[in-house]
């Protein structure tokens, strides 16, 4: 076993660039003997469990590898694998950094590690049960009361509640590091809502596509059975409905650092992704607000930190919680995993006490030790602290408050050391001192070479049956550069796939195969929360608005300067006028200057009606409804976003360049629409996207017709040509009328022709069908207000006499038509508002009450 090899000789010092190591091909991997290296033993020989991988990598031509890796990067980008870095001005959605070389563990070593992880999870669960129950561990002095009872993760209202199935800790993750002696140590325990398992799965998916033959060479333990077990565990928690419980994944929302993973896991596990406002408590039961009304929820897979989960009984200022949730848990009507209050395990508070607790609670020795950690509340420990500070990491025992980052003793200035010691002196019970560990290194692939980086491994455990099982693998995270000592995604590090080599295939395959019960046939997806329907509706509207704006702008830019074809520039004023409802042009501005001004505004992200701002909104709405959109739709959203995100207009942008850019934008929008038409099942989700699109297109048709009114006479006018062009209806017109455009036929085509997919009449008909279908779910006998509006709109357009409406008044104006269009517009807006009221009422903001106003007090 690797770990029985003696520690590397620390006196030897780092030996950089030893040249070609046996078996490492030409990768020039240097070995630093101060660290344990995962791939190369201290004697410079490749460790046996790396041989197969390295020979595979050596056999792969460097250019081939580079090409594959480029493809993998694109896959990451297009799949939208992201990680939110709080301090990054780019904010949401930083692409996920992944290295192609996995961390490889032998099966023998993994077996030991797994036993240790399972024992640790079992122990931590028993500790939680005691602390939220009889608290004998405090009375017996095995845990200091001051440490536990001052911990903000200790949720008093949960005290005395026995959770469903008696389990507090359903999911557990340990941050592991290998010390120079080869043994694994736990750096921190994650018990609140451990994240990362989804990223581990996505890493495997990408590596499997990039290096498929490597995984074929020698079998690697698959990850998916772990998720199947997670699912069985969650299903078993349901207080009722054991067969088909309603399970939701509760996420804090798109601004959380690992929102990608929430959406990913929800989709992978087949649960509804919800945010707090999607849930409500009635009569001590949790319900999901869906378009079909309130639906009872049985199990909540929780990704929101415990203290934030109920503003009534827990943190009052939280907007991420569900008022009354604790009461529902107390009554046993809903199971929450992990149970509320499990955050007490975070930040390593248990570490100093675990060996004794393990003997007391399990009558066993702790198999997987922590990095040596001491609690500063222990007077003896405080004495040693000052002398040893260089080798220590000082952590807050209470996570989540300001200044909670771990402090590395040797990086502190004298003044900060003094300040830290004073802070510890004032509240010693709130600090932990952890031994600095020299992390092990593993190779990363950097443009054809292998280079060592320090690493940590996050391992995952789920409750299953009467015990726990560990995921064979995990999320390996690496430092950002060779000298990096700290491993942190927030600080720009990267990640790796983690391979546990499958042992004797006969032994394990049978034991680990899980039988999946045959799926029941269902039609229609799981519940559509009203909030998601709202997001999808606006997603549809913004996609359409982006496309229309791009078309209008394109019609302007293609009439400017060199981009203008023969005679086209004379139509520029007409094209500008069509955009009047978006950007007003100063009446006396020269048309070309006005066109450039509009282009600038369109690409200025701060202009609310600009193209860029619209594309941002498309992206945001899609992100919020992410688990409802297919991977291809995501890719198309990202493509649209990328088309526009990087555009900055220099002083003299060439009109042709803008036109080709706008072609790209129109195509990207068309692709999105096409995906929605062809690939979304005709469920409610699709309907709300399409309702948004139809409504927006209807409004657009009215707007451009109204814009063109002042400038058309009876006969052909350049404005009508432009109007047909932006409405994508020139071909239809020409094939019908074989003449230059006249007003009444154009009006008919764009307003009243139900066979033209760009006409208002077409949108009205589609909206009417949608409303009828959506209303079916409500089961009422009468037409709803939304249906009445679509009936009115359809009727008004069908019964309109286009010839009369199209006729000019004596002074050349068309007051009847202008008024008619105005009424139609206001009815469409009314429809939008009615939808919000009828289907998205959650939009009313929630606020804490009672506590905020203070009653007069002496």
């Amino acid at each position: 076993m690797d770990r029985h090899q003696g520690p590397a000789d620390p006196a030897a010092g780092p030996v950089a660039g030893q040249g070609t190591l046996p078996g490492t091909g030409g990768f020039g991997y240097p070995v630093d003997r101060d660290h344990w290296d995962e791939m190369v033993a201290p004697d410079g020989v490749l460790r046996p469990h790396w041989e197969a991988f390295m020979s595979g990598l050596t056999a792969l031509p460097a250019e081939d590898m580079a090409a594959r890796w480029e493809r993998a990067q694109r896959l990451i980008l297009e799949n939208g694998v992201t990680y939110n870095v709080y301090s990054d001005p780019r904010g949401l959605d930083r692409p996920w950094p992944l290295d192609p070389v996995p961390l490889i563990l032998s099966d023998g070593e993994w077996d030991d590690l797994e036993q240790g992880l399972v024992q640790r999870a079992t122990l931590l669960d028993l500790i939680l049960a005691d602390l939220y129950g009889s608290r004998t561990l405090l009375a017996e002095g095995l845990l200091p009361p001051s440490l536990i009872l001052s911990h903000p993760g200790f949720l008093r209202p949960l005290s005395g509640i026995v959770p469903a199935g008696g389990i507090h800790l359903h999911f557990y993750a340990a941050a592991l590091a290998r010390s120079p002696d080869g043994g694994w140590r736990v750096v921190s325990d994650r018990g609140e809502a451990p994240s990362g398992a989804g990223y581990a799965l996505e890493n495997r998916t990408i590596i499997a596509r990039t290096l498929p033959e490597m995984l074929r060479h020698r079998p690697v333990e698959p990850l998916t059975p772990f998720f199947q077990k997670m699912r069985e565990t969650l299903q078993g928690l349901s207080p009722r409905n054991r067969d088909i419980p309603r399970i939701v994944l509760l996420s804090p929302g798109p601004y959380n650092e690992s929102f990608f993973e929430h959406a990913y896991l929800a989709r992978f596990l087949g649960y509804t992704l919800v945010e707090a406002e999607d849930l409500t408590v009635r009569d001590e039961r949790v319900f999901l607000k869906t378009l079909e009304g309130l639906q009872p929820v049985d199990v909540i897979l929780r990704r929101t930190d415990g203290p934030f989960c109920d503003p009534l009984e827990l943190l009052g200022e939280s907007t991420l919680g569900v008022a009354g949730l604790v009461q529902a848990v107390r009554r046993g009507t809903v199971a929450v995993a992990n149970n509320l209050g499990s955050g007490l395990l975070e930040s390593g508070v248990m570490a100093p006490f675990l060996p004794a607790l393990c003997r007391r609670l399990l009558d066993q020795d702790l198999k997987l030790p922590s990095v040596p950690t001491s609690w500063c509340g222990d007077p003896g420990e405080r004495e040693r602290l000052r002398d040893d500070l260089d080798d220590l990491v000082i952590k807050r025992a209470h996570p989540g408050r300001s200044g909670a980052d771990p402090l590395f003793g040797d990086m502190l200035s004298a003044a900060r050391r003094d300040a830290l010691m004073a802070a510890i002196g004032r509240a010693p019970h709130a600090f932990l001192a952890q031994q600095r560990l020299r992390l092990s290194t593993a190779p990363v692939w950097t443009s054809g070479r292998l280079d060592p980086r320090v690493l940590m491994l996050r391992a995952f455990v789920t409750a299953h049956g009467h015990g726990y099982v560990a995921m064979p693998g995990g999320l390996t995270r690496i430092a950002a550069d060779r000298d990096g000592k700290i491993v942190s995604m927030q600080a720009g590090g990267g990640s790796k796939d983690t391979w546990v080599l499958a042992g004797d295939p006969g032994r394990k395959a049978s034991a680990r195969r899980t039988v999946q019960p045959p799926a029941k046939l269902v039609r229609g997806a799981h519940d559509l929360p009203s909030r998601v329907a709202d997001n999808l509706f606006w997603f549809g509207r913004y996609v359409e608005r982006t496309e229309e704006t791009a078309r209008l702008l394109r019609s302007v830019m293609s009439r400017v300067g060199d981009a203008a074809g023969f005679g086209a520039s004379s139509e520029l004023p007409a094209a500008l006028a069509l955009m009047g409802h978006i950007h007003r042009v100063p009446p006396n501005a020269p048309p070309e200057a006005a066109a450039m001004m509009i282009a600038r505004k369109s690409f200025d992200a701060s202009q609310a009606l600009g193209l860029k701002a619209n594309a941002e909104r498309v992206h945001r709405m899609a992100a919020m409804a992410r688990d409802r959109l297919s991977l291809d739709t995501w890719r198309a959203v990202n493509r649209l976003h990328d088309e526009l995100a990087h555009v900055t207009l220099d002083d003299e942008p060439a009109a042709e360049d803008l036109v080709s850019l706008l072609n790209g934008v129109v195509l990207a929008c068309e692709a999105l629409n096409g995906l929605a038409m062809e690939n979304m099942t005709r469920g409610l989700a699709w309907r709300f996207v399409d309702i948004g699109r139809r409504l927006e297109r209807g409004l657009h048709a009215i707007d451009i017709l109204a814009n063109v009114l002042p400038s058309v006479g009876h006969a052909g006018s350049p404005a009508l040509d432009v109007l047909l062009e932006v409405s994508d209806s020139s071909m239809t017109y020409r094939s019908r009328y074989l003449s230059s455009p006249q007003f009444a036929p154009v009006l008919d085509l764009l307003l009243a022709d139900e066979s033209n997919p760009r006409s208002l009449a077409f949108q009205n008909a589609a909206l009417g069908q949608h409303m009828d279908q959506v209303a079916l779910a409500r089961r009422t006998a009468f037409l709803g207000p939304d249906q009445r509006l679509t009936v009115w709109l359809t009727g008004a357009v069908r019964t309109a006499d286009i010839d009369i409406l199209g006729r000019a008044d004596d002074d050349g104006g068309r007051r009847n038509l202008a008024t008619f269009l105005e009424v139609l517009r206001s009815k469409l807006w009314e429809l939008s508002e009615t939808l919000t009221r009828e289907y998205f009422t959650h939009a009313v903001s929630r606020r804490p009450g009672g506590g905020t106003a203070r009653e007069p007090m002496p």
Partner: protein, 291 residues
């Protein structure tokens, strides 16, 4: 002494509240020196569900209720009858000095039972200047009860009652520098002083009998909720102190609930959907009805 306590809390909302979950700490707490004869709770509009009496983590009575129909106002009314008896208070000379008390607090059951009141809570967290302010009261092996009286006296003398100076969100640091506030602030201040010294201190909410100025009639509804603090003295248990009135509560303080700070025992806490601006009216009557 028997008291009749009438407490009416009314909220008005500028927009309809569509859904509200509430949690009330409004019933007097049964204690060796406080016998609760009767409590009636009346809620208007009628709760639509989730109504339940319970006991919170600190042993206080709580009442949960839900209003799921749209409403523009909420009135919660309690009518209680409480009998108060004298409570025992030790002689100063019988209480240990601070240093001895702190040692005793580390031992056995006491350590487990009092630990949660010894450390910072969200609204009553000690800070260095405050601890320095409290320290002189406990000099020279003085009996701790004398020190506690002195500290209460100093807070009363150094701080000005000012109903307009603070809100619930005012940090304790500002109360300390500006030296103004209301009973709630003074209770939190005292608690943080004592926690800074390492003593367990808790927040007590309840009512106080107020006396009309000489020669005037008692005014209905002119009383108010009140707050003070309680300290654990090893060997003697919890002793209450009212820094707002510089007095040790006895026959005129009625206890409803205690916790680490106001947040644990807020009389009426709610989370609502909608509601817009809210206005609050409170009327309290504490009426002695017999000896």
């Amino acid at each position: 002494m028997i008291y009749r306590i009438h407490h009416v809390t009314s909220y008005g909302y500028s927009e309809p509240v569509l859904l509200a979950h509430h949690m009330a700490h409004l019933m007097p707490r049964p204690l060796p020196w406080q016998h609760c004869r009767r409590t009636n709770l009346r809620i208007r509009p009628q709760p639509t569900g989730g109504e339940r009496d319970g006991t919170d983590y600190f042993g206080n009575a709580v009442h949960f209720f839900t209003l799921a129909d749209a409403h523009r106002s909420l009135t919660v009314e309690t009518l209680s009858r409480v009998e108060l008896l004298h409570r025992p208070c030790p002689e100063e000379g019988d209480t240990p000095p601070l240093s001895v008390a702190l040692e005793a607090l580390e031992i056995g059951k006491t350590a487990v039972e009092t630990a949660e009141f010894r450390y910072a809570s969200p609204l009553a967290a000690p800070f260095a200047q405050l601890t320095a302010y409290a320290m002189p009261s406990f000099a020279d092996a003085r009996p701790i009860l004398a020190g506690l009286r002195d500290l209460m006296h100093r807070i009363h003398a150094d701080f000005t009652y000012d109903a307009t100076a603070t809100t619930i969100a005012t940090p304790l640091e500002r109360v300390f520098t500006e030296r103004r506030g209301v009973c709630q602030d003074f209770a939190h201040l005292g608690i943080a002083c004592l926690r800074g010294l390492g003593l367990p201190a808790r927040y007590v909410s309840g009512y106080l009998l107020t006396r009309p100025p000489p020669g005037r009639e008692r005014l209905r509804g002119a009383d108010a909720s009140h707050a003070w603090l309680s300290v654990f003295v090893p060997g003697h248990g919890w002793i209450d102190f009212d820094p707002t009135n510089d007095t040790i509560p006895d026959m005129e303080h009625i206890t409803t609930a205690w916790g680490r700070d106001f947040d644990d025992v807020s009389p009426l806490k709610g989370v609502m959907l909608g509601g817009g601006e809210q206005s609050l009216k409170v009327a309290v009557d504490v009426e002695p009805i017999s000896d």
